[in-house]
Symmetry: D2
Subunit: 141 residues, 4 copies
C-alpha cells in the first residue's frame, strides 16, 4: 500500500465508527491506530444488553463477532479511508469473555481486491478470549 494514510487520527476513526448506527449501538470506541503496523485497536464496553446470561458480565458471542468484524474492517479503513464490505469472517471463541473487551486488528494482506485481517480479543482481565479472521473487499462502500 503505497497510498498515503487515509485516516490518521483517533478522532477521525471514532467519527467513522459513529457514522454506523449498529457500531454506535454497541458503543465501540477507537483506542489506537498504527499505520506502520497496519493495526487498529477498538474497544467495546460491557453493558447489561451485551450479556449472554443476565447478570453474569459474560459478553454474548454475537457481540464479540460484531467487534471482530468492525475492528477488522477498520484496520483497512485506516488505509482506504472508508468502510469496506466483509466477504467472510471466522471467529474462534477461546474462553468466556468477561467485562469490557479490546480488539486488536492487524492486516495480514492488503491486496488489490482482497484484504485479510487478524483480530485478537482480550477481556478486562487481559486474557485472550477470542480470535477472528476476516476477508474484506478492497472497495470502499
Amino acid at each position: 500500500m503505497s497510498a498515503p494514510a487515509a485516516v490518521s487520527s483517533i478522532e477521525r476513526l471514532q467519527e467513522l465508527l459513529d457514522g454506523s448506527p449498529f457500531i454506535r449501538f454497541l458503543g465501540m470506541r477507537a483506542i489506537a491506530l498504527d499505520h506502520g503496523r497496519q493495526e487498529v485497536v477498538v474497544s467495546m464496553p460491557l453493558t447489561p444488553d451485551h450479556e449472554r446470561h443476565p447478570a453474569t458480565e459474560q459478553v454474548h458471542g454475537g457481540a464479540i463477532a460484531s467487534l471482530i468484524d468492525v475492528a477488522g474492517d477498520f484496520a483497512l479503513v485506516i488505509l482506504l479511508g472508508g468502510a469496506v464490505p466483509t466477504i467472510n469472517l471466522r471467529i474462534d471463541y477461546l474462553r468466556p469473555a468477561i467485562g469490557d473487551l479490546t480488539a486488536t486488528a492487524t492486516v495480514r494482506r492488503a491486496g488489490r481486491t482482497i484484504g485479510v485481517v487478524d483480530v485478537d480479543v482480550t477481556d478486562r482481565s487481559g486474557r485472550l478470549v477470542a480470535v477472528g479472521r476476516g476477508c474484506y473487499g478492497m472497495t470502499v462502500g
Copy 2:
C-alpha cells in the same frame, strides 16, 4: 440423538431466546422448529439501530453474525434443552441484507462432543444474503 426432544414448542423456544439479554436486545423471534429435520427458524426485525449506514435499511454484518450464531445454537437447543457454547463460527456475506432477516438453521452433525450447524439467511425480498456455519460444544451451560 435418541433422546426425546428437549424443546418442542415455539413458546418455549422464545422463552429461552428472551432469557439472553443480547438476543432480546436484537429482538430475535422464534418462528419455527422441526425436530425431524433438526431445524429452527429465527427472525430478526430491522430497527434503525441495526443499520450499517443510516437510513439504508441495510443490516450490519455484526447483527447478521449474531443472528447466525443464535440460530445455529438454537438448532441444538431443541435437541439438548439449553444453550451450548459456540466453539467457532464462519459467515459468508453474499449480498447486501435489506430489512427483516430470517435465518434457517439445520444441524449437519450432532455428535457426542461437537455439533455442526448450517445457517441460511434470507432478507425481506427472500434472497439468500448470507450463509453461516457454526461449531458448538454439546454441553449445555
Copy 3:
C-alpha cells in the same frame, strides 16, 4: 449467470482435472455435473498413500481438504470454463472418512467477483464425513 455453460461434458471436466498435476496425483475423477443446479460431483479413490495411519483405510484430512477445494472450484469451472483461484476455504470434519470419497459441490453464490460453494463429502458407507465451504475469485487463471 446468463452465460452459456462453459463446460458441459464429464469428459471435458475430467480433462481439466487431469490438467492439474496435484489433482491427478490424488486420482480425482469427475462423476457428474448439473448446470441447472450448478453442481458437480468429484470422487477420490482411497490409496495407501492417502491414509492418515497405515492400513486403516482412513483418509487424511489434508486429502479431504484437497478434494473439497477441487470440487468447489470445479462447480465454478462448469460456469466459467477454467479453474479459478481459491480465496479461502473451510472444512469441518464430522466423522472418520473410510475408503473412497465422493464430494458434491453446489454453488451458493456466483457473483461478479466472488463465488461461494458448499461441498458435502460422503465416504464409501454413504455417511456424511466432512462439509466444506470455499470462496473463489471469479477470474479464470
Copy 4:
C-alpha cells in the same frame, strides 16, 4: 499446559510425521520445535506432483491446506505426544505459492477439550503466501 513436553526432539517429530502415509507422501519435514512458544516449523518441498498447473512451480492449494493441517496438528503433538483429530480448518490464500514451503504453527489456546492453532506459510522467496487456523480435539488418536 503444565504437563512435561511430550515430544522434545526434531528426530522424534519427524518419526511421527513419517508414521502417517499421507504426510510422507507429500514429503513433509520437521524443521524446528519450541515448547516455550508452543510452536513447530514444518516444510514441504516442491515436487512436480504438487503443482497446480504443469511446470509453473506453483503449489496447489490442496497441498498447502494439507501442510497447514499437519503443522497445526503437530504444534499440539509436541504438547500431547501424538496426533489429534482436526475438528475444522480455515485457509486464506494470500499470494501464489512458489517452490518449497515453510509452515510455522503457533498454539493460540490449548484447552482441556479444544486446541486452536495459527499457521503462517511462506514460500521460497520468504513471502507470506497463506494463513491457516485449525481447531483440534485434545485427545490423541
